[in-house]
């Protein structure tokens, strides 16, 4: 309990997990708003512009939450992980500074124009504001994922005798193969969140028989985008990500899969409970040889199990890693089926009248948040016990002078503050949803 490292990990895990609930929504919505506004410009139909206007309001609320919960993240590198920052600033300082100067300035300058400026700017220029927010938020994602990719699979750096890292090849660092795959995987994961939000709200309005035009646009766009994005999350991006893990973090792969014993024709555990003490998977349902194929494209390939590696190199929480990974994969698979079904019904013209399917879609919006969170937990727990994989241990990265009690205190402060902000955010979003889209210049609700 009085180990500061524990509290630093808990605090960062909590603040980053909470923070990323909002960017995943805005990253997804930014793309879908651009799509809706482009359709509005192209077709001249007001229903697209009205739907876009509604989603811009939601985007504005979520973006504000992302901004205020994101500021602490920048500082926590220094406050909580001072030793890591001092050693790695010569590398990751590049992308973190790039994020501020290339992405945040762009987003923050045009946010107010997007949210409030439709009448002032007119349709074309307002489309450009939406485009600026799209480019900014996707650039921000790139710089942050590239930073994380360095921690997962460090490239393009040199280290001196004291372990201080310096950028050696900026191009290699920015095109880290791990980073490009992870970026694609993360971004389409965010589009799933945004698409499910559209489909959920569209389904809710349809069930209530309200806002027919905006409901149809949101529902149909959400379902089509959701099917495309959910498919891309699995193939090719998720598959490629898995191969990256197999190649560069074989121990993490073994822990994610609950794979203790090495051997050829490694089975894939669909479910089961890792029993770390006895080094086996309890009550598993296995698909024979599938893990070998997924990891190496060959059913007879040898997949090394955890037993092949010293326990000091194992991820520090095998169980949580295993369950996070399985929750991510399980939900990701369900998403494809769910959206494929909805898309089929849409194609047959029966979606808008199929109440059971609309009900399920209306209740679907939380699940991509869970899947994205579980995905990041898999990535970050799989990286343990390393802070920078193979270079710096997490235990050696924490701030040397910060007392564990201080970190616990501020964690509790964040918990309280974020609880209040979360409740208010949900309340404001619920008000917007119940009111529905408004015509340009219409008086708002009280």
């Amino acid at each position: 309990m009085d180990d500061p490292l524990y509290w630093h990990r808990l605090q960062f895990a909590f603040t980053i997990t909470y923070h990323y609930l909002f960017p995943q929504l805005t990253i997804g919505l930014a793309l879908l708003i651009v799509v809706l506004k482009a359709l509005a410009l192209r077709t001249g139909k007001t229903e697209y512009a009205d739907a876009a206007r509604f989603w811009v309001r939601i985007f504005g609320l979520a973006f504000a939450m992302g901004v205020v919960t994101g500021i602490p993240m920048e500082f926590q590198f220094g406050t909580n992980w001072a030793a890591f920052s001092a050693k790695s600033g010569g590398v990751i300082g590049q992308t973190l500074a790039m994020e501020g100067i290339f992405a945040f300035f762009l987003e923050s300058s045009f946010l107010a124009l997007l949210v409030w400026g439709e009448r002032r700017l007119g349709p074309q220029k307002h489309f450009l504001a939406a485009l600026a927010l799209f480019v900014g938020s996707w650039a921000s994602g790139y710089f942050i994922v590239t930073t994380n990719a360095f921690m997962q699979h460090p490239v393009g750096y040199t280290a001196d005798a004291n372990g201080v890292l310096t950028i050696a090849d900026l191009g290699a660092y920015l095109t880290n193969p791990w980073g490009l795959v992870q970026y694609a995987h993360t971004m389409v994961g965010a589009v799933v969140t945004g698409a499910f939000a559209l489909a959920s709200v569209g389904a809710y309005w349809t069930l209530r028989g309200e806002h027919a035009a905006a409901a149809r646009v949101s529902l149909n766009t959400g379902v089509v985008a959701g099917l495309i994005a959910a498919t891309l999350v699995a193939m090719p991006t998720g598959h490629e990500q898995g191969r990256m893990v197999a190649e560069h973090q074989p121990i993490a792969l073994a822990a994610m899969e609950g794979h203790f014993e090495s051997g050829p024709r490694a089975p894939l555990a669909v479910i089961g409970q890792p029993n770390v003490a006895e080094r086996k998977l309890d009550n598993p349902i296995h698909l024979p040889a599938v893990l070998s194929y997924i990891a190496y494209g060959d059913f007879s390939a040898n997949v090394r199990g955890l037993e092949d590696f010293p326990e000091s190199e194992w991820p520090t929480n095998v169980e949580l890693l295993y369950y996070s990974f399985h929750v991510m994969v399980g939900l990701g698979t369900v998403f494809i089926g769910w959206m494929a079904l909805a898309a089929l019904w849409l194609w047959r013209g029966r979606l808008a009248t199929s109440r059971w399917l609309l009900w399920s879609l209306a209740l679907a919006f939380p699940f991509p948040f869970i899947a994205n969170t579980a995905g990041w937990l898999s990535a970050e727990l799989g990286r343990q016990p390393w802070l920078i994989h193979g270079v710096l241990r997490t235990a050696d990265g924490a701030s040397p002078t910060v007392h564990g009690g201080s970190t616990l205190f501020t964690t509790l402060g964040f918990a309280g503050l974020y609880l209040v902000l979360g409740v208010l955010f949900l309340m404001l979003v619920a008000r917007e949803v119940s009111h529905g889209p408004r015509a340009l210049g219409a008086a708002p609700h009280a």
Binding site: L61, M65, V67, V68, I71, P72, E74, F75, F77, G78, T79, W81, A82, A83, S85, A86, K87, S88, G89, G90, I92, G93, Q94, A97, M98, E99, G100, I101, F104, F105, L106, S108, S109, F110, L111, A112, L113, W116, R120, T158, D160, V164, T166, I167, A168, L170, S399, P400, T401, V402, S406, T410, G413, L424, R438, A442, A443, P444, H445, A446
Partner: protein, 348 residues
């Protein structure tokens, strides 16, 4: 190369204070200069388009420190741990107050966020000023370049030092007065009617306060960090910056009396920029002075990232800065003229 990045980091942080400073000042004063809902929305319309972009300058400054002086960033942020979180919470509350307030028309909802906005905008400059006070006076850096300070210990000049003590709180209160004056002049420039009239009174009342507090802060600094005064007198850049601050302060007074709104605001901006530039120039090359042993101080020369990192960033950082300035110019042009309270549901 280290000197260049020291100057760039100091410049970006100073620009942050000038820009977000008018948001803080307007926020700290808005409960007094704007009484009705319509008036408060006029204040929000004046700063609404800018506040988020202004805040990014803080992150950009942190980014420069991270890439060019990582040890300084790491030591400073972890040493000031609790104070940093205090600042973060005020920034969270400030931002969310602006963004959430006008979404609901209920008067109690709006009063709550107005009060929160005012309180957060008052506290943030005090914490930022106290941080500057700590940097100027020095912190107990040990030989390995780390330190930790209690959030507060004793407020007696002879007692134990903390992040918040008599000197740093004096600097904090001075910062609040300077930025309140700065924000008042911004509102004089960007608003009209009653809000402008009251902001004019606020600027007139805070100006003498600024003069007195700056005098007191200067005397106190001479007492706690005499070495800076010697450096200040010997360095032309520091002297020029001091002169800029003086001219700016005088301009803010004269131009305000003559009704030249923009000139008065720019005078205040020059004053803030000059103060911070003079401070940075007299500190150079020291980022964080050790109060225990001068050889433990963190300096730009000894604690910069390796030259390869500094060189790599020169390729892209100026491009990003030019873009950021371009956005800011575009934004000020789009919103030129007096800010009016937006129609319900059409703005802050």
């Amino acid at each position: 190369m280290e000197a260049l990045w020291f100057a760039l980091a100091a410049l970006v942080l100073a620009v942050y204070v000038v820009l977000d400073g008018f948001d803080f000042g307007a926020g700290a004063l808005h409960l007094f200069v704007a009484r009705s809902d319509r008036e408060r929305r006029q204040v929000l319309a004046a700063i609404g388009p800018y506040w988020d972009g202004n805040e990014v300058w803080l992150l950009a400054g942190g980014g420069v420190l991270f890439l060019a002086f990582p040890k300084v960033l790491a030591s400073g942020l972890s040493g000031f741990y609790l104070a940093i979180f205090l600042l973060l919470w005020t920034l969270i509350l400030r931002g969310i107050s602006i963004e959430f307030r006008s979404h609901v028309a209920d008067p109690l909802w709006r009063e709550f966020w107005d009060a929160t906005f005012g309180l957060a905008s008052t506290l943030a400059p005090i914490v930022l000023g106290a941080a500057l006070g700590n940097v100027v006076r020095g912190v107990p850096l040990s030989a390995d370049g780390w330190f930790s300070l209690p959030l507060f210990a004793s407020f007696s000049p002879s007692g134990e030092l903390g992040i918040l003590d008599w000197y740093t709180v004096l600097i904090g209160v001075t910062a609040l007065a300077v930025l309140a004056h700065h924000g008042a002049l911004f509102l004089v420039w960007k608003t009209d009617g009653d809000v402008q009239a009251r902001s004019l009174v606020a600027a007139a009342r805070t100006w003498p306060l600024v003069v007195v507090l700056i005098g007191a802060a200067t005397l106190a600094t001479r007492f706690v960090a005499p070495e800076h005064f010697r450096a200040l007198a010997e360095r032309p850049v520091a002297l020029a910056a001091t002169a800029l601050a003086g001219v700016g302060l005088a301009t803010s007074f004269v131009a305000r009396r003559r009704g030249r709104e923009l000139t008065a605001f720019l005078g205040s901006a020059a004053f803030v920029l000059g103060l911070l530039a003079a401070t940075a120039a007299s500190l150079y090359p020291i980022w964080l002075r050790s109060s225990l042993d001068p050889s433990s101080s963190l300096s730009a020369n000894d604690h910069a990232a390796a030259p390869a990192a500094l060189r790599a960033a020169l390729w892209w950082w100026p491009v990003g800065l030019a873009l950021a300035i371009g956005y800011a110019v575009l934004l000020f042009r789009l919103h030129r003229g007096k800010a009016q309270a937006a129609a319900e549901g059409e703005g802050y």
